[in-house]
Symmetry: C2
Subunit: 440 residues, 2 copies
Amino acid sequence: MKKIEGNLNNRIEIEEIKNYIGRTIKIHGSIHKIREMSSFAFIILRTKRQMVQCIYSEEFSKFLLSQIKEEACVEFLAEVVNEERSKTGWELRLIDVEILSEPNEKSTIVFNNKEIEASLETLLDYRAITLRNERERAIFKLQEGICKGFREFLLKHKFTEIHSPKIVFSGAEGGANIFSLEYFGKEAYLTQSPQFYKQMMVGVFERVFEISPVFRAEKHDTSRHLNEYTSVDFEMGFIESFEDIMNMETLMLRYTFDLLKNEYINELNLLNVNLPDIGFIPSITFTDAKVLISKEYNRAITDEFDFEPEEEKLLSEIIYKKYNRELVFVTHYPSKKRPFYAMDDINNKNFTLSFDLIFRGMEITTGGQRIHELNQQIEKMVSREINTELFESYLMIHKYGMPPHGGLGLGLERLTSKLLNQNNIRLSTLFPRDISRITP
Amino acid sequence: MKKIEGNLNNRIEIEEIKNYIGRTIKIHGSIHKIREMSSFAFIILRTKRQMVQCIYSEEFSKFLLSQIKEEACVEFLAEVVNEERSKTGWELRLIDVEILSEPNEKSTIVFNNKEIEASLETLLDYRAITLRNERERAIFKLQEGICKGFREFLLKHKFTEIHSPKIVFSGAEGGANIFSLEYFGKEAYLTQSPQFYKQMMVGVFERVFEISPVFRAEKHDTSRHLNEYTSVDFEMGFIESFEDIMNMETLMLRYTFDLLKNEYINELNLLNVNLPDIGFIPSITFTDAKVLISKEYNRAITDEFDFEPEEEKLLSEIIYKKYNRELVFVTHYPSKKRPFYAMDDINNKNFTLSFDLIFRGMEITTGGQRIHELNQQIEKMVSREINTELFESYLMIHKYGMPPHGGLGLGLERLTSKLLNQNNIRLSTLFPRDISRITP
């Protein structure tokens, strides 16, 4: 019988190297790039989060340069030397190498330059190796930071994290855009949103959140749609107005962007990210926005119930010009275009107490207040010819008591993609799923 | 145009009440229980995480007791009064009430006693309201704490959080236990594990983790199986031995249990949880464990390649008797029973460098070292008649270079359930999915 005591190998992390100047250390990683110069070579070591430049020279290196190749996994014995010209203040002189594993062949796709020169298709087909590129991987490190920020903020504000099921018996939004599967002889669906579950849990914990995959069987093949994405959902009870939710989101984004500045500065710099100012976020009603866009650009209003993607872009342009702001809330969307659980505006039943958040021309959040009274909910469902019997366990919360409440869903990949000013959401999706892509 | 500045309503949280003794405050929540005494009444208010006892009396309350009912959502005006006999050191004397919403009817299932007296079926059928019970909801608050502990630990140890797709083109484990769905005219599957993706990402970030749903179409209808569960997965590169993974898990559990003691003490007390001691975790090989169980209980070994559930229980009993430990690692499982990516033991090819972690008689973790060399991987796949062409993007990592690596998957609901000494995993699953349950 052995005892596992929780002992880790004491390996030096990059951040600690500065404490070892003048000493010999062991450091491990993948050989990202070998750059041979006239009398020496730069060896770029890929470590967990940083690329580390090492110097090979016959003067001090006890191995042959030909012994190592790119993408080999190695442990180097190296001397840490003071070097004022280096950004870090030190450089690593390689003394010896232990080769831990070697690639079988060299990839024809070059991923160890600053950027990968390849089509989007190739970038995604070879994701397992193209993500080894310094910039490509930084995108997903930054995405980790966004989730870290959201979670920290929500836990501080006493939201409880939940795990709701992804296989469901009926869709949240209804409609055709839903994947179905056979579940032990019954028909089941993949969830489009944790909507019903987070509402149920408001009755339990008052405030809840979940960051989890959702599935949309939409046949859109655009640069802004995915068929599976990561949804950041929160829902809160005892609100006085749907603006409470918008205020909470504003605070959450502010907290998260501050966290990125503090903990992910290398990635922000590497990707040239300009974080938007969110001292405040302007808010405009749907109707006012429609008129504003129409006036400013002399466009006819063709769809009075929804935005065209082009209009979201134009609205962002106007807001940026007038208020120097890159985010804008649009409120009071038409009831017709919002789901059955959306609460209508008491002042005008054709509109809902709802909002979208538009960031740099694209909707990244949809939210609003939900109906909490049973009769009001049933009435709205009946008027839409929804079979209330199918929603028995959902309507239980209305029947047995629910506080005024609301919440939102935010698309993690959309937010990431817009932060990076990308032209395609797939670039901020680790392994995208779209109408024609299901691999890798 | 409005400006949303991120202002929240300044509401008093329970933890702050002690600073308001002698003052009048507003406090909101759901009326969990009304207990009428001879000349006054106790009103138990359900807030985000605590039940708060309030006193109603005609002496100081300006409203009628008949005005409020259980499960109404209210805001009370109350005086905070010093009360040494109370656990908190204060009590709340209700002055006035604002009723924010009211239930339509009273539930026939009583959920505001200490425990709910109902069958498991009823408990789950009425999940939306049975979770309002103090103990029921504490289970999931504790589960939040487990996730918080894991994430904090893994981020501190430089694991990168990833989001891998749940709709996949082939299963991780293969076999029949996989849900399939139609994906735009193609056949696709629901992931059984993020295995391939986390391995791919080891080549990118060295250490990665994901906490996400996985799906198993197993027809088992037992107290320990779910068809959808939350899997805690991590994978790490540059390991020297598969024991590095076991050490990391030991540390992760130690960190998490310490966090629960610090931040979730109320839930631990409420649920009478005894956290296991993990100063060390004993480790025994599969073969030795089989022999040990056989000897100690005078049982014949009927299946030499796997444990029967009963054997896991007996092993736990032995380990507890001999070492006073409630967790035990079992290592070197037979190759035959492990997936194709498991690395065989160089000393005996019939066994793998793998482990399970057994906690109070149930396997909660499976892990091990993976094959990182291309030829070794292909050879093992061919010997199992696996079509390597289907795994092209997976094998890319072996071809283009991978460090020695390994990882594990831990079932969140199993761990929670065993911590609470429950007899059914469904009790620690928010909305369980099993062979006969897909609602609510």
